[in-house]
Each structure stands twice: as C-alpha cells, then as structure tokens.
C-alpha cells in the first residue's frame, strides 16, 4: 500500500543520506520517502507534495546545509499551515545550543539525533513520531497498524471511537 503520507529526508552528504534512507526502509512499504540535499530543494519538494494532496508526516533534517540551514527550514515549515503538524527531527552533530533551542522553541522539534546514530534509535523514533502523526491525522489508521506501534493505534481506536460495529 502506498499512502499519501511522506517522510522527507534532508542531508547534503550523499553517503549519509543513503544510510538514513537505508535504515528506515521498513517504512517504505507504507510511506513515501523523499530525499533532498538542500533546504531549497526540500521546500520545492514540500510544495509539490502539498499540491498533490500529500501530507508530510515526518522530516529528518541535517542542520549544516549549503545555503539555508536545517533549523531555519524547520522553523519555516512550522509557520506553514500544511506542515505545522509534521513531526520534525534534527539529525546532526553540528547544531549549537542556540540553534537547537531555536528549533525546540520555534519549530516544535520532536527529537535531536546526534551523529553517529544507532539504527534502532532512528527506527524507534521514526515509528513513534509517525504513530503520533497517523493517530492525529488519519481517519482509518488500520493499514498502518502493522508497521507502526500497533498497541497505541489499537488504543486510539478504543478511546477515539474511530470504528464501530456494523
């Protein structure tokens, strides 16, 4: 199943980009993974996705990029209606305290992953944040149960009364 929910990965070093995408392949069956190597390219991608009625569930973003930096990009995404609820994560080794604080305060940063990261850590964070997003934004979360946190999705069915007997 291909859904309308996207994961956006922004990283300027090709090998690092590859390794992030490789680590989260288990989500590819249910989410579209899109890559960009600059913030500017990411913005274009976001526009295209929104135009085609897609939603961006998660953005995994490096901080130091040629041109606009990662934190600036996340803050701008936070200001936009369509990407406000996108779960935002920094994967970086080089964001200073000031910038990190800015990302937390102004971009509602959900997680800071320090390079080098462990695959399990990245997968766990991706799963948690996508589960949040799906519970909040998807009318029928059943197709995502298998790949995401099925216990939390079942709990959302129980308390959110999303499904009834027919």
């Amino acid at each position: 199943m291909k859904s309308e929910i996207y994961i956006l990965v922004i990283e300027d070093e090709p090998e690092v980009l590859d390794s992030i995408v490789r680590d989260i392949t288990e989500f590819e069956e249910h989410f579209n993974v899109e890559m960009a190597d600059t913030a500017e390219e990411a913005e274009e991608l976001v526009e295209e996705i929104i135009e085609e009625d897609g939603k961006i569930g998660l953005v995994l973003c490096d901080h130091v990029l040629p041109g606009k930096n990662g934190v600036e990009l996340l803050v701008e995404m936070q200001k936009e209606e369509m990407t406000k609820s996108t779960r935002k994560v920094l994967i970086t080794g080089q964001a200073g305290l000031d910038e990190t604080v800015k990302a937390v305060n102004e971009a509602d940063l959900k997680h800071y992953i320090a390079k080098p990261w462990q695959k399990e850590e990245l997968v766990q964070i991706t799963r948690d944040l996508l589960t949040d997003y799906v519970i909040e934004h998807v009318k029928d979360p059943l197709p995502y149960m298998k790949v995401l946190d099925s216990e939390r999705i079942a709990e959302s069915l129980r308390t959110g009364r999303k499904m009834t007997d027919q």
């Binding site: 149960m145 298998k146 099925s150 069915l157 009364r161 499904m163 009834t164 007997d165 027919q166």
Partner: protein, 463 residues
C-alpha cells in the same frame, strides 16, 4: 470515486428505476415504490457507494417522500394501501430498541472513559494462570463477556492493546501468536450474540419481532442465544488450539493499571452494575429493558460523569443504520412488497428444515461480505413475512426465523472485511488472512449446524 462505488451508483439507480418502468403483476403501486427503495438500498449497501449509514438515512427520506401520507404521492382509496404517517418512518429513530442501544452506547463509552473495561479485564484474567491454553481461554471469555454489553469492535480494540505486549514477548514462530490474535475477534463476534445489545443485527431483528407483537425480554434473548454463544466460544477455543498449538509452556501476563476512584468513576461502576442487573432480571420486575436503558443515559449525564463532548462522540451513525433497517422493514410490510416477494417463491417444495437452513446459510454467506446489520435488515422482512404467511407457522416460527437471521449473521467471520473486529486483528500483521479463512469457515459452518439443531431441539421447548 473508485470503480466499485461507481458501478454501485449506476446499478443502484438502475435498480431504483426498474419498478418505476416495469409493472410487476400482483404488486401494487406502493409495492413498486417500496421495491425501488429496496433495490436502491440493497445495491448501495452492497457496493458501499455511500457510507452504509447514509444509505439508511436515504431510505428513510425516500420512504417519507414516496410512501408516507404526507409524501409527494397521493394514493387513492382504491389502491388498498393506507399510507403510513411519515412520523412512523422517522420515528424508527426513537424505536425502543434504539433507546436500548443508546443506553448501551452510553454505558460502553463511559466504561472506556473511566477505564472500566480495561480494569475489568485485568481482574478477570487473573484467575487463569499462565498456561497458554488457559490464558487464551481467559482472554476469550473476558472478550465475549465484554462484547455482550459493549460493541464488538471497541472490545476488540481494547483486547488488542492487552495482547500486543504478550505477543511481543513470544517467539515470532510460535503458533500461539496466531491462535491468540484470532481468538480475540472471534470471541468478540461470538459474545455479541449473547444479549440484545451485543451487536446491531440483534436490534434490527428484535425491532421487527416487536412489530409482530412479539416482545423479547432481555433475559429471554439471553436464554435463547447465550447457550449457543457459550458452546461456540468453547469450540472456537478448542479449534484454535488444535490448528495453532502453542509451542511455549507459559505466558507471562502482566497488566498494570489502577481502578479510578474519582466520584464520577464510582457513579459509573454503580450505574453499570445496576443497569446490567435490571436488564437481566426483567422477568422479575417487569420494567422493559429499553426503559431501564434510560437510567444510564439520565444518571451519567445529570451527574456529569458523561459530558457534552462524550454525548457528541457517541456512535450516532450506528443508530441511524439500525433505524434505516427497521424503517425498510416497515415499508416492505405495509406496502405488501414482502408478501409479494415471499409469494413469488415456491416455498412449498421445501421442507421446514430446508427452509430454515436456507435462511441460516444465506445470512451467513451475505454477512461475510456485507455489514451484519445490513444483512439482517435485508433478510428479516422476508423471514418475518414467510413466518406470518403460515409457511413456517405460528409465533414460534416467527421468533425462530428471527433468531436464525440474527445469530447466523453474527457468525460470519471468514474474511477481514466480514466484521470490524476481524479487520483489526488482521491489521496487526500477526495473523494472515488465510489463517482467518480456515478457522473462520469452520466456526461458521459449525455455528450454522448448531443453529439448525437448536430450531429443532432447543427453542421450540423453551418458547
């Protein structure tokens, strides 16, 4: 709009037009109009062109417009049809059975709000120890018990949150994962038949029986249906253990949780207990279950244990769905459509037993693909008419055919699409559809055989 829906839309409109263009001998004008509505509803329900509850609402609107005394068409006195006041079609929304369900919904949603369902599960599971077979039996018994009073779907969702941590601790290859994951939806489906409020098809059937002057008490329904539920529950347990025998010897079962002790939580516990007690003892005090159902609605709202937002969150569309089904039955009976359909089939060639079996098998097959409520709504007018026309014979026959339809629809659990609980179980990824098909089919067949046996050896003796 996808292809199936589009086909449904076209077929539905064609179905609606056929009785308007072609005159069927022996069917009155209102009968033709009712047939138009019936065909449109049947096709829309089957293809889900629009959500099934929307079809129900459309049915009520069309009946008011085309068949009611206040509608667009004036039927002459010579037509032999005394138009039904529109309030009777609209009034199905306040039918006693709908009020009973409303009471059940409020209780169930309040139970979720105060975690009553989960805490009950935690307490009830304790005595079952740690052996996989006993744990599974416990899970199934608790699921069936809760789904007899709450929706099958909500019970399944809750139990899935209970079993996922258990499954996570097991080897990926252990067949017990499959048997446990299947046991929950199956037990929920089975538990739904046990009480009138267990599942919506029961409502459609009970409402139709009420219209025939047959009043079904809460306790009487349990007397008719509970033995079947218990036997099927034990059988499903046995079957799943045989098909997927657990490899591990013991399952650690840890459920954490605490009873809520706020004032409102206590109010819920008491109201829940009192309501259920009054329901099952109807024969002792004579207060109808639908009147008892107003107690939780009134007490929980006046104490603010159940607030405005909770009221808004009730599954109102299920009540519309049931009301549409009841209302379709009224139209089919009043216009003579049901008589006409029943009369056009030569039932005389079938024996009593074959006839009942046909209803059981058709109900089971249809509801594997359609909503259970829709199946009951489409079949019950025919079943009742058949019984009242004398082919099956007597009030006992009417009741028996009602029970057959209600129970058989609920035992349809072959596919993920058969019931929402099945869909949830398959979505976890633990169970594959093929496992569900095998065990679900066996359960369906055994249930049908038991239902038919009961029509001969059980129900006639207790009615």
């Amino acid at each position: 709009m996808d292809k199936t829906k589009l086909i449904g839309l076209v077929l539905g409109i064609i179905g609606f037009c056929i009785p308007l263009l072609i005159s069927f001998p022996g069917l009155s004008l209102p009968g033709h109009l009712a047939l138009s509505i019936f065909l449109l509803a049947a096709v829309f329900w089957m293809f889900e062109t629009i959500p099934i509850y929307s079809t129900s609402i459309l049915v009520i609107l069309l009946e008011v417009l085309l068949l009611s005394a206040e509608g667009l068409i004036s039927f002459g006195s010579g037509s032999g049809y005394d138009p039904v006041p529109f309030s009777q079609f609209v009034g199905t929304l306040a039918n006693p059975i709908i009020i009973l369900f409303l009471g059940g919904f409020v209780l169930a949603d309040a139970a979720v709000k105060y975690n009553f369902d989960k805490n009950m599960t935690r307490i009830l599971l304790k005595p079952f120890g740690t052996s996989p077979a006993m744990i599974m039996f416990g899970l199934m018994a608790v699921t069936a018990f809760l789904s007899a009073f709450m929706s099958n779907t909500a019970t399944t969702a809750m139990m899935v949150t209970v079993i996922i941590p258990i499954l996570a601790k097991m080897e990926m290859t252990d067949p017990a994962r499959i048997s446990i994951a299947l046991s929950i939806p199956f037990a929920a489906n089975i538990g739904g038949v046990a009480t009138p409020i267990g599942t919506p098809p029961n409502a459609v059937v009970i409402a139709a029986l009420n219209q025939q002057g047959l009043n079904i008490e809460f306790g009487s329904w349990m007397l008719y249906a509970l033995p079947l539920a218990l036997i099927m529950l034990a059988f499903a347990w046995f079957l799943l253990l045989k098909l997927h025998p657990p490899a591990l010897k013991s399952i650690p079962l840890e459920m954490k949780g605490e009873w809520k002790t706020s004032k409102n939580a206590w109010i819920l516990y008491i109201v829940f207990g009192v309501t259920v007690l009054l329901w099952v003892t109807e024969s002792l005090h004579g207060i109808k279950s639908s009147i008892v159902a107003l107690i939780p609605v009134a007490v929980l709202t006046l104490t603010q244990a159940f607030e405005k937002d909770d009221i808004r969150n009730l599954p109102w569309e299920v009540l519309w769905l049931i009301a549409g089904g009841i209302s379709l039955g009224i139209a089919m009976k009043e216009t003579g459509l049901a008589d006409w359909i029943v009369g056009s089939i030569s039932w005389e060639q079938m024996s009593y037993l074959v006839l009942l079996s046909v209803f059981a098998i058709v109900s089971l097959m249809m509801s594997n693909f359609l909503s259970n409520t829709v199946t009951a709504s489409l079949l019950i007018p025919l079943g009742i008419t058949l019984a009242t026309s004398g082919v099956v014979g007597g009030p006992a026959g009417t009741l028996i055919i009602g029970l057959i339809i209600a129970l058989s629809t609920s035992f349809a659990m072959v596919l993920p699409i058969s019931t929402p609980p099945n869909a949830i179980a398959v979505s976890t990824g633990v169970v594959e559809t093929k496992d569900m098909i095998v065990s679900g089919s066996i359960i369906g067949i055994v249930a049908i055989v038991l239902v038919i046996l009961m029509t001969n050896f059980y129900w006639p003796h207790i009615l």
